[in-house]
């Protein structure tokens, strides 16, 4: 189980970063008092637009970042006090974590297995299983730099799962993948759920979240605005699909005038587009 209690993460910005982001404040609240629980045998989805704080939340859970306030427990281990124990139970897959291009998937798989303290026999068995599931056998001895994006992603997933972790955290797992590889990944997430693992995914693709997740935590502007099953969220927002639900909540939460104006403009364009479509249909 992963418990996130009152998680807040504030970044201190350097002068250069302030300039890049075009803000004056030297602090940026990336995650603001977020709480949720992800249980065994369920896929928990963190949903939100880019820059909402999803990746930061996942990075804190995977112990890469320390929370400014609040706590995160992974299988009962505090991510600060027992970071190594927490890491032993976690698999974290994100675009920013890459495999060394000079090595082959097979070498990396075995190396990471050893670093997880697994015996050679266990590594053999895991390699056999995962390389077959993701179809890595054909390119297991090619260097990562020679692989296609899809192959790289498959290798990354297999390597990150070498130690059969209890908690699987995938940040935008199907981002940039072709439809076949994306399907293989989502199928495997269901398989992990069936095995009783805790699965946390982040995504900004509503349809993916709707299909994949048992429960969803929506994050906007660093705040957890709603958490619940799909039907609970639809009921609370009085909508029929997740995308509408998202925009219904988004409208009530954003305070920035520019963003609100942008949203209204977008609405107008959509309505105009719909009217034209209707006209054409008639």
């Amino acid at each position: 189980m992963v418990e996130v209690n009152g998680l807040t993460k504030i970044y201190k910005l350097s002068g250069k970063q302030k300039k890049e982001m075009n803000i004056k404040d030297s602090k940026k609240i990336a995650v603001d008092n977020v709480s949720f629980t992800a249980n065994e045998g369920e896929i928990f989805g963190l949903l939100g637009p880019n820059g909402a704080g999803k990746t930061t939340t996942l990075r804190v859970i995977s112990t890469l970042l320390k929370p400014t306030a609040g706590e995160v427990l992974v299988e009962g281990h505090d991510t600060i006090k027992e970071a190594e124990l927490a890491r032993a139970d976690i698999c974290f897959l994100t675009n920013e974590l890459k495999l060394d291009p000079k090595f082959t998937p097979r070498y990396l798989f075995r190396m990471f297995g050893r670093l997880h303290g697994l015996s050679e026999e266990v590594i053999d068995a895991r390699q056999e299983e995962l390389f077959n599931i993701f179809g890595i056998v054909d390119f297991q001895d090619k260097k990562i730099e020679e692989l296609s994006t899809g192959m790289k992603q498959k290798a990354s997933i297999a390597v990150s799962l070498v130690h059969d972790p209890e908690v699987v955290i995938f940040d935008e797992p199907t981002n940039g993948l072709d439809i076949i590889t994306a399907r293989a990944v989502t199928d495997y997430l269901f398989e992990l759920k069936r095995k009783g693992k805790v699965v946390i995914v982040s995504t900004h693709i509503m349809s993916e979240a709707q299909k994949l997740c048992d429960r969803i935590g929506m994050i906007i502007g660093g705040r957890n605005v709603i958490t619940g099953t799909l039907s609970e969220i639809l009921e609370a927002t009085n909508t029929t699909d997740l995308e509408d639900a998202f925009f219904a909540i988004y409208r009530t939460t954003i305070t920035n005038e520019d963003e609100l104006r942008e949203l209204n403009d977008l609405d107008k364009q959509i309505k105009l587009h719909e009217r034209t479509d209707d006209g054409e249909a008639m």
């Binding site: 990075r59 890469l64 970042l65 190594e84 890491r87 976690i90 495999l99 190396m111 670093l115």
Partner: protein
Amino acid sequence: MNTIKTIYNKEMRRVLFDLKMVFGLFIMPILMMVLIYGIMGFMAFTMFRDIEEHKSSVYVYGAPDKFIDMLEDSDNGGVVSKVTDKSELDNLKDMVIAGDVDYIIEFPDGFLEDINSYKEGDKVPQVKTYYNPSEDYSESAMDKYSPLLEEYRLDLLEERVGTLDAVSIFTVNSDNDEAKLQDDSKAGGKMLGMVLPYIISILLFAGAMSLGSDSIAGEKERGTMATMLVLPVKRSHIVYGKLLALMTLSAMTACVYGAGMLASIPVATTLMSVNGMKLSISVVQAILLLVLVISMVFVYVAIVAALSVFAKDMKEASTYIMPAYLVVIISGVMTMFRSSDTNLFEYFIPLYGPAMAMRNILTQEITNVQLLLTIVVNLIFGALIAFVITKTFENERVMLNA
């Protein structure tokens, strides 16, 4: 322990299984060295031969026939021309400056008469010679022909006083073959001690620099460092594994460069034409150097790694490392101009102390205290930096640019 070993193996494999890296680190420098020494040797050989084969053009004015005979009988192989018109001399001097004439010997008018009619109190006649020190041919002609004047002077002296023994009073080293009492290997060591600490320091650091920035800043840039940081292993073990591998690889590059340099010593000896110096290193010196070099590698690798940790990418890392590289170069240069009479406190100075110690090993003047102190200082300094790196690995802002 297993973690350190796995990380170590990975780092070693990354370099040694990569043909480009192996070529760049180990083969290229040797090729460069062979090429540079080869070209230098060939050019020097051609230059020496050219000077040797050159027929010096010597002009003589007002010389007695006996001296002309001496010039022509000498086996210097030059072309001796007599000048009869004194006004031509100015023109010839210009030609010496231009490098067209190599040597001029000018006797005063009435030279022999003056000598023969000499009375005590008379002015002694003066023979003038002209050469151009910036022209190799001219300098070589001066070396070859000026001793003939001394020979001629002694001839005339003997004619005047009968026997030379009466006037020479005493001789200096006329049959003393042992006048030079230098220890040839120590003299060679002094020569090596001037150059080697500088070259070894620079090569060691350069090796550590390219490897270290790739292993740490390169990993951050490629996004593979974060992959390591989510592993359930101690961050310090990742650091130790990396540092050990970097030390091994840097030491290996240093050995390759060292072997290249030792192999080129015969060439260097010929090139520098160091009289009687023995440019060689004894077994004891080699062992002491090795121990010292290993402790230096530790410090260099630690410095490079520490600076790389703070860099976002390899480009930034090289900017951070450059000042440290300059300090290493300056330390090396400073040892060149430092007398062997050193204070013990100098060995407490990181980077500079080891270069001094290395020089003293080569000149055979190192004391046990100096060597031990240098190594201990190196180890403590390196360990301190390693500790800082380990602590920095815990820092999310530095490691993940968060």
